[in-house]
Chain length 340, copies 2
């Protein structure tokens, strides 16, 4: 027994060091890749007022929900959404299994590799490509295919895996929220099953916190009687526009405290989020940095874009509703994790 107090003196001193250490961490800048400005300030302030017990805007931990769109908000969406590139690059494998598709449109055009012709495919034909490459296989097979593709595919401009093209400032925001007791959710128009393959590794977001467009699955048994789920071409949730708050209600059942997006497909999510009582925050990313990334609007006179457009109407709505607009050019000091 005589040694116990001594041991706890050391333990106590260790605790003191840890305490001092963690005070340092908290005091240090949790968003080092952000330039000082209203965007950074609004995010840090929201976290502060909702987690400080003395604040009138304090939010109990179980209600701390924050949602993030993915394409154009957490990672690069130009020149084309990553999942669409996956679908296009899967076409040869699909045609190999079903040779009768080889001379049929839209498969023929995709196989031709003619980028201009592919870009001109009407929506209905693009949907045929998505259905052929995202459904009809088991959930396990799909996950394995996506994982394999992600390991080798490279972004045409950066020549890096797509999973490296996440925005360092947003990774810091995810961490800041999580370190303060928030559950971070992805709420994406992309396929839920697609994003779940890498979300945990890339963003630290587990599958159950990925809300996306949902296709139904069908339960069945293989030859040995083992059950498995097949991905069906039956859309249960189109997680865009009004589908975002609808999907948030279905999958989470609570209104977020803060929401991040970058295009009109995120507007209803931000409306729904910021219409709640107490402290709320809506944030939009404006891609205005052609040098380091891409510049597209057409808000604020930026070039128009088909992918992840940021309309002037959305920009005006943001000003009207006090949503924060992030300028990549001005607000983000460092863009990608691999940037020095």
């Amino acid at each position: 027994m005589r040694t116990q107090p001594t041991r706890f003196v050391f333990l106590g001193l260790a605790l003191l060091l840890i305490a001092v250490g963690s005070t340092d961490v908290r005091a240090a800048d949790s968003l080092p890749s952000w330039n000082d400005g209203p965007a950074k300030q609004a995010i840090v302030e929201l976290v502060r007022v909702t987690t400080d017990r003395a604040s009138p805007k304090y939010v109990p931990p179980e209600q701390r929900i924050v949602t993030f769109d993915q394409d154009g908000t957490l990672w690069v969406e130009h020149p084309l959404y990553t999942q669409v590139i996956y679908c296009l690059e899967r076409v040869p494998a699909v045609v190999k299994e079903k040779p009768e598709l080889k001379d049929k449109e839209p498969f023929k055009t995709v196989l031709s590799g003619d980028r201009e012709a592919i870009a001109k495919l009407p929506l209905k034909e693009l949907e045929e490509i998505l259905a052929a490459t995202l459904t009809g296989m088991s959930v396990d097979e799909f996950q394995a295919e996506v994982k394999k593709w992600l390991a080798t595919a490279r972004h045409p401009r950066y020549q890096r895996p797509y999973t490296e093209l996440t925005y360092q400032p947003m990774l810091e925001v995810l961490k800041l929220f999580r370190d303060n007791g928030y559950k971070t959710y992805i709420v994406t128009g992309g396929g839920q099953d697609f994003v779940r393959v890498y979300a945990e590794q890339v963003y630290g977001i587990p599958p159950e916190q990925v809300v996306g467009s949902v296709s139904g699955t069908k339960y069945g048994y293989d030859k040995t009687g083992k059950p498995f789920l097949t991905k069906e071409p039956k859309l249960l949730l189109n997680d865009n526009d009004a589908g975002k708050p609808e999907g948030i209600h279905m999958m989470i059942g609570r209104r977020p405290i803060a929401a991040f997006g970058n295009s009109p497909g995120d507007q209803q999510m931000l409306e729904y989020t910021t219409a709640g009582d107490g402290a709320r925050l809506g944030v939009l990313v404006l891609h205005d940095d052609a040098q380091r990334e891409y510049a597209y609007g057409p808000a604020q006179g930026l070039p128009d874009s088909k992918i992840g457009t940021f309309t002037q109407a959305l920009y005006d709505e943001a000003k009207k509703r006090d949503w924060v607009v992030i300028s990549i050019k001005k607000d983000w000091k460092r863009l990608f994790p691999f940037d020095k």
Copy 2:
């Protein structure tokens, strides 16, 4: 500085007491309302082998998912599912708002209070009642109505609020799993929005961990421009039978390590769960205690039942697949939290 070591001696002693205390807690019986037997043993053993780092069946914390059916598994489902009682008891209020329904079937029969006639309503007419009482209002209105009803409604036999008719042994199982790093989910055929109203308070299960039958919602704006969600009569997921593994994939995206149910509607969930690699557990509750609760099968010669039936085929399947069958009579020492 001289006082610091002394303070930490006291802190150290306090820590020592806490440590001794928590060892005691861990060593103590975490399922005190269970009689010793194979059911209790199987549950405790599953938790042990999946959380002991030295075990070959160790499961990392993020994969620790356990799912529970609700009606007949976590709380009483006789003489009728609680949500159906809610719907029937809401009919007068619905008719008051829409007097034209008063003389129309099936509303007329429900208003008559004739229990035999109500019990004989065909499924299609019952569905009309469900649609009229569960949809057409805003999500906020619905939550407020359910909350109000739960506060005053009483179970006909026990004369207690339905939310008190949870099984104490299962509350202990929920806690045991959670204390060991598991996320506990409800996976119910009941309405997701209904169960979410009370799941946090009653079971300690937050809304985002309640998977149930899902009706779509529709996003819109009130007169002041404030957005809200309306419950629509559009079934997106029937969370019964094959719908349970399909719902688990949609809402969680991981295969559970253990699953608890009590009727054929849970069979596919148990199949899917126990078909996974490593340690898995399927458990079914058999209601065989007419004295303390209800006795119904028709498995094992128990009286047949329309509500939460336990077929002999399910019983045989359980034996074949090594699923655990809980006998309420033999395995549960104490039934309800209010029992002494």
